[in-house]
């Protein structure tokens, strides 16, 4: 019996089940990975497919519509006429063209026939002449003569295909060859002339079609359709990797951007620049998942090419991620740069445009920057680029102080060294010591030079330092004392639109602050007593001078005017009349100058000590005690309107009427309670009042807030949501409502809530001492303004993009960048349009609508091209254009609205002039066009144009004659020579409406004839002989205009302006 073998483990144990399971698992894995590979990880595939089908439908529809439209246009009689003209012209040209072409062909044949022989002969003669010139001899001359005389037989083609055998010698060959060249040139030119009507007609047809049917034509659309239908579904990726950076350098400067893989409509291949595509176009307006629109602002894409920028650098989001929308948009915890919400899109601009005060196509960002300055955010928060003249000034003064110290030390050391030298044991040592003393002496003189420069710089900086809020050293002269505590505690109640933020103050704190403010105020010298003015006249002046460009009047819906400065509806309740008069007459006037070195306000006694009159202004700005620059002006941006005292009294009297009936403020006895002063001072220090106000003892106070330059780069963990942390993550707003966008635990959420009410982050905390609470006051902002500021903060990043992406131009554009900071600082845009499309405050006021728009201040969009920079410099320094700072406009004396004097620093003037020039692409330095002086004949023609009834220049242009200028609406042309640039003036007299639409200057004074401008009106017969450009002639005449010439025209000008006849004497008043 065979022995049973023991159980064979191989036979008895099977792994079949395990293997089966493994196979299934493996299969699952494979299919899962295949699914992920083709669908799961590639959601963009489905986006692209959806786009292709939706968009091809749209293009098809467009194409059909376009075809129909084209047929309609083509059947229109005008089009038919144009087409007829074209075909006629083609036919007409055809016969002539054929003749000319035949002639050209013959000339070409003839040229070819002689070319070879001519070239050979020319080389031969040339070489013989060279030989003769190198070593002249009669035999060589003979050889040359022989070579030239030798004739060659040539088969000369003639008209009709015949050839004639002709003999040519050297000169004949040469002449014939040149004649043929000329003939060909003439024929070609004639052919061009013959073809011109055909070309013109063709252009006319194309222009007609382009006008009637803009956009892509049907054949272009059909091409597009093909492209879309054959769309290659693939990942679309932009890689920009500066040298030394890998593609996957996450968070580094290497840019990888795949957004267009889903946002297919951005691709100009599918949506050309001439088209725009919206969700509605695709019939997907209701879909939340149709990222197919083209960019709403194609101009931005022209400036920021997709190939360089992609999407995420501007919009945020994770440009690499593709797995799902949340990841791609970077709205998850680990991604530092989530996609900006639509209301904050302009944050993206700020990342690279932080050096701009004004960024084109970013209106919200521009508003945010104006708010940031105008609302005094800069008073507490440093932000690079914003006015830091106060810091510069402090640094300058510190530097001066340390240099003075160094100088004093050196001055002590110099005699010591000399003494040592005198006593030195040997001459060499003595020389060394003497030399050291001499070097120190020279060093001291260099210190003097540096201090002098720094003093000048201080002078400039002192002029540039402006505070957003009033000087509180003058409270005692300016304010109704009872009003002060009311304002400190209830400023939003008094003026719901006030710029001053609302502080969280307890009643005792209000009293202490008010008392301190009152007690630190200076007490004199007393203000001059002012007689009462005429309030009605004052009202007229207030409404017409341009005060409303910055200030507003009226409350609530009645509010009219600008937001740049205070609402004056209740100013009568708080302000002292005498102070107002002084302020309106010249807001720069201080009661006492402040000496930054002695840290105190000087008084008459300081001047008397040195036998000096109590006089301090920009020309008398040195301290009588130590010679350093004083603060001689109020740090206000409010300019001087160069008013008479009477006008100032009228306006002040009007403003004193601006109050609520029965307004009454209790006398606040505690204001004089000196025991409150210390507490008040501590509170003023704590809350940083000196960030915006000038206060005794706080002149050098530093900013108390966080620096915000790179606030948007802070990781979320560094923002203290305090007890709202969970609520923020759960999407519950501080008021208990649900956040519309879910979790607000992000930078946007923090900023938004902080700006809405900074106190919320104290919610639920036990802080019995009010000084422990968050001290940021509540800013007075609308929700749009808040969004704008949130955008600014979100964009305030330490950019991760390469420096080449930053907008820090080194060319002329830098002047534009610098200039805008000044333009927005002084609110030039309150009165002027400077940027194309930008509207001034005045433009929106009721008194400047429709035909009254003529009374608006000038549009400055072409100022740099219009005026001579030297003139602009003098004008900006003194807009009265008169050394006496007269009560008038220097250039547009006819306007009631007045260009005030801003007392800009030299540096600001320089920057503004460069700004205007750069804005109009004018080269710096300006070299005026040299204009030939007029001949007598030319002058006669120019006078004819100038005084023609068809161009009654002096009917509108001022002459300096008061009677005449009552009706004037344009500047005195006597100023043209120093003020205007010739090329601009020529464009202005021919086509003013293209430079300033809506201008009172009429267009069509000249018509284009051939290549010159010809006056469009009757001219004296003698002028008909003038064959050059008449617009250029008029410009030369204008730029040569003298008071004498203008006076001499008086008689003739009176034809055009019958009421007035300016006499020489009257014009003589013009200086």
């Amino acid at each position: 019996m065979p022995e049973l073998p023991p159980d064979d483990p191989i036979k008895s144990r099977s792994f079949a089940n395990a293997i089966l399971i493994a196979v299934f698992v493996l299969l699952l894995c494979v299919s899962w990975s295949l699914y992920q590979e083709f669908i799961g990880l590639r959601p963009w595939r489905s986006y692209q497919n959806r786009f292709a089908s939706a968009y091809s439908g749209y293009v098809q529809k467009q194409m059909q519509a376009r075809k129909a439209a084209e047929q309609q246009v083509e059947s229109a009689p005008e089009y038919k006429k144009l087409e007829q003209t074209l075909s006629d012209a083609t036919a007409a040209a055809k016969t002539q063209d054929a003749v000319i072409e035949k002639q050209i062909a013959l000339v070409d044949e003839q040229r070819a026939a002689i070319l070879h022989q001519f070239q050979e002969d020319r080389s031969l003669v040339g070489s013989l002449i060279y030989d003769y010139e190198v070593s002249p001899s009669p035999s060589r001359l003979e050889e040359v003569k022989n070579a030239k005389a030798k004739t060659y037989a040539i088969d000369w083609p003639e008209d009709g295909g015949k050839t004639v055998r002709k003999e040519f010698n050297y000169d004949q060959l040469n002449d014939t060859f040149n004649q043929l060249l000329d003939a060909k040139a003439q024929l070609t030119a004639r052919e061009g002339d013959v073809d011109k009507p055909e070309k013109d007609a063709g252009d006319a047809v194309a222009k007609y079609l382009a006008e009637k049917l803009p956009g892509l034509n049907s054949s272009q659309l059909s091409g597009l359709l093909k492209t879309v239908q054959q769309m290659d579904v693939k990942l679309i990726q932009i890689n920009v990797n500066p040298p030394g950076h890998e593609i996957n350098d996450i968070g580094g400067v290497g840019l990888t951007d795949r957004c267009q893989s889903c946002h297919v409509g951005m691709d100009p291949k599918y949506v050309p620049a001439a088209m725009t595509l919206t969700k509605a176009d695709l019939g997907l307006q209701k879909s939340n998942d149709a990222p197919f629109s083209s960019h709403p602002d194609p101009q931005l894409l022209q400036w920021h090419s997709l190939e360089k920028f992609g999407c995420s650098p501007c919009h945020g989001g994770n440009g690499r991620a593709l797995v799902n929308v949340t990841k791609a948009h970077g709205r998850y915890a680990d991604w530092l740069w989530p996609l900006y919400y639509p209301e904050n899109f302009e944050a993206g601009c700020q990342q690279c445009h932080s050096a701009d005060a004004w960024t084109e196509h970013a209106p919200a960002l521009n508003e945010a920057k104006i708010l940031f300055r105008d609302r005094g955010c800069t008073g507490c928060h440093n932000y690079a680029g914003f006015d830091n003249q106060d810091e510069q000034l402090k640094n300058t003064q510190r530097e001066i102080a340390s240099l003075e110290k160094e100088k004093a030390d050196d001055n002590l050391k110099i005699p010591q060294l000399n003494k040592e030298g005198d006593q030195a044991p040997d001459n060499a040592t003595a020389q060394k010591l003497y030399a050291e003393a001499t070097d120190l002496t020279v060093g001291v003189s260099k210190i003097d030079a540096r201090v002098e420069q720094l003093d000048d710089l201080s002078h400039s900086l002192l002029q540039e330092v402006k505070r957003v809020a009033p000087d509180l050293k003058e409270v005692r002269m300016k304010l109704n004392p009872g009003w002060i505590p009311y304002w400190v505690g209830h400023n939003w109640e008094f003026d719901p639109a006030t710029k001053m933020p609302q502080f969280r103050l307890e009643p005792d704190e209000i009293q202490a602050i008010s008392a301190f403010i009152w007690q630190q105020g200076i007490k004199g010298p007393a203000l001059e007593k002012q007689p009462v003015g005429d309030a009605a006249k004052g009202k007229d002046l207030f409404n017409s001078l341009g005060c409303l460009a910055c200030h507003s009047l009226g409350e609530g819906a009645q509010r009219v005017g600008g937001d740049f400065a205070a609402n004056l509806s209740r100013i009568g309740e708080k302000a002292n009349y005498d102070y107002l008069v002084r302020w309106i007459h010249d807001p720069r006037v201080r009661t006492r100058p402040y000496c930054p070195f002695e840290h105190r306000d000087l008084g008459p006694e300081d001047y008397a000590k040195h036998g000096l009159p109590y006089q301090f202004d920009l020309e008398h700005s040195r301290c009588p005690n130590d010679g350093h620059e004083l603060v001689v002006e109020q740090a206000t941006v409010m300019p001087s309107f160069r008013l008479s005292w009477q006008e100032a009294r009228d306006i002040a009297s009007f403003l004193e009427t601006q109050k609520h009936a029965g307004a009454h403020y209790d006398q606040a006895g505690f204001l004089n309670d000196s025991s409150l002063a210390d507490k008040g001072k501590a509170l003023v220090d704590h809350y940083g009042c000196a960030g915006c106000h000038e206060l005794s003892g706080f002149e050098d106070a530093a900013r108390i807030g966080t620096e915000l330059t790179t606030e948007g780069s802070k990781p979320i963990g560094r923002f203290d949501f305090a007890l709202l942390y969970t609520k923020a993550q759960d999407g519950i707003l501080p008021d208990g409502k649900e956040s519309p966008r879910g979790s607000w635990y992000d930078l946007k959420g923090f900023f938004d809530q902080k700006l809405a009410n900074p106190a919320i982050y104290d919610t639920g905390k036990y802080k019995p001492n009010p000084m422990d609470r968050l001290r940021m006051p509540k800013p007075n902002l609308t929700s749009e303004q808040r969004d704008a500021l949130v955008s600014l903060l979100l964009g305030s990043t330490e950019s991760t993009l390469p420096p080449s992406y930053q907008y820090k131009p080194a060319d002329q554009r830098r002047y534009i960048q610098e200039g805008w900071w000044i333009v927005t600082k002084y609110n030039c845009i309150g009165c002027h349009q400077i940027d194309i499309g930008q509207k001034s405050v005045l433009m929106g006021l009721p008194m400047y609508q429709s035909d009254q728009a003529i009374n608006l201040p000038p549009v400055l969009t072409s100022e740099g091209a219009r005026v001579n920079p030297e003139w602009l410099k003098s004008f900006l320094a003194n807009p009265a254009l008169n050394p006496k700072d007269e009560d008038r406009n220097g250039i547009r004396s006819y306007l009631k609205v007045r260009m005030p004097t801003f007392y800009l620093s030299d540096d600001e003037i320089r920057k503004l002039v460069l700004f205007f020039e750069a804005l109009s692409s004018q080269q710096e330095p300006y070299i005026p066009q040299r204009l030939a002086p007029l001949t007598e004949t030319e002058r006669a023609v120019a006078r004819g144009i100038f005084t023609s009834p068809a161009a009654p220049c002096l009917k509108c242009h001022a002459t300096g004659n008061l009677a005449h200028d009552k009706n004037a609406t344009a500047p005195n042309l006597v100023l043209a020579g120093t003020r205007l640039r010739a090329p601009w003036t020529e464009r202005w007299v021919t086509e003013p409406a293209t430079i300033i639409p809506g201008t009172a200057m009429p267009s069509g004074l000249f018509v284009r004839q051939g290549d010159r401008w010809v006056f469009n009106g009757p001219l004296p017969s003698a002028a008909k002989q003038y064959k050059a450009d008449e617009a250029a002639l008029l410009v030369r005449y204008l730029l040569e205009m003298t008071p004498q010439e203008q006076a001499a025209l008086g008689g003739r000008a009176s034809l055009a302006a019958p009421k007035t006849a300016p006499k020489a004497g009257a014009v003589g008043g013009m200086k």
Binding site: E420, P425, Y434, A437
Partner: protein
Amino acid sequence: MINRKWTCWLAAAALAALAAGCSKSGNQESTSEQPAATTAKKAVDPATTGSISGVVKFDGAVPKYKPINMSADPNCVKANAKPVFPDEVVAGDGGALANVVVYVKSGAADYSFSVPSDSATLDQKGCMYTPHVVAVIAGQQLQVINSDATTHNIHPTPADNREWNKSQPPNSPAITDTFARPEVAIPVKCNVHPWMKGYIAVLANPLFAVTGKDGKFEIKGLPPGTYTIEAWSEKYQTLDQTVTVGPKESKTADFTFKAGS
């Protein structure tokens, strides 16, 4: 033999250098200390002093000078009735040479001399310096006065002393200054009147004399000893002589400059 001698000399020189180095560094630390105070100086005993006298001459022809053209400043023209000649070489009869500073160049270093309290005077008169060569002792006051009706500036250009340049309008107070270090001699110029040139000789001690037109000099108050006497001439540089003077002895030393050299 010779080698050993040299070695000794070298060693001595090295020691001297070391000592000099030490005293130098010591001086730098305490600067108020008088350099000469390291070795006590002797007072001169007036009972034993002698003198040296002599005549300074020069051998050769007097250079020919053209009159100075002062027309640039009418005040200068007015101040001089006669034409004025440069006073670079002022010669007397028989080749006597004026304006030569004769002084003890060495040999008197061990004696202390007091700085006289009265000042030397340099006048600007007729747009010329009077005297042409003024001698002061280091530390002695030099008074510069302006007797002209025009503004001068006084601009000494020393090699060893401190340079200065001061303006002096007519009728203004005298300018006084001192020179700390002996220097023979410091040129003085007036930048307004370029022809004006003079010299300030700054001497270490009062043992000096300046020759007049007769070329004579006498140095008095010499303690007994051996001296190197130097004669300094603006034009002909210097000549040295060694003279030994015994107590109350009067010695003679004449100097003759060679005009051609």
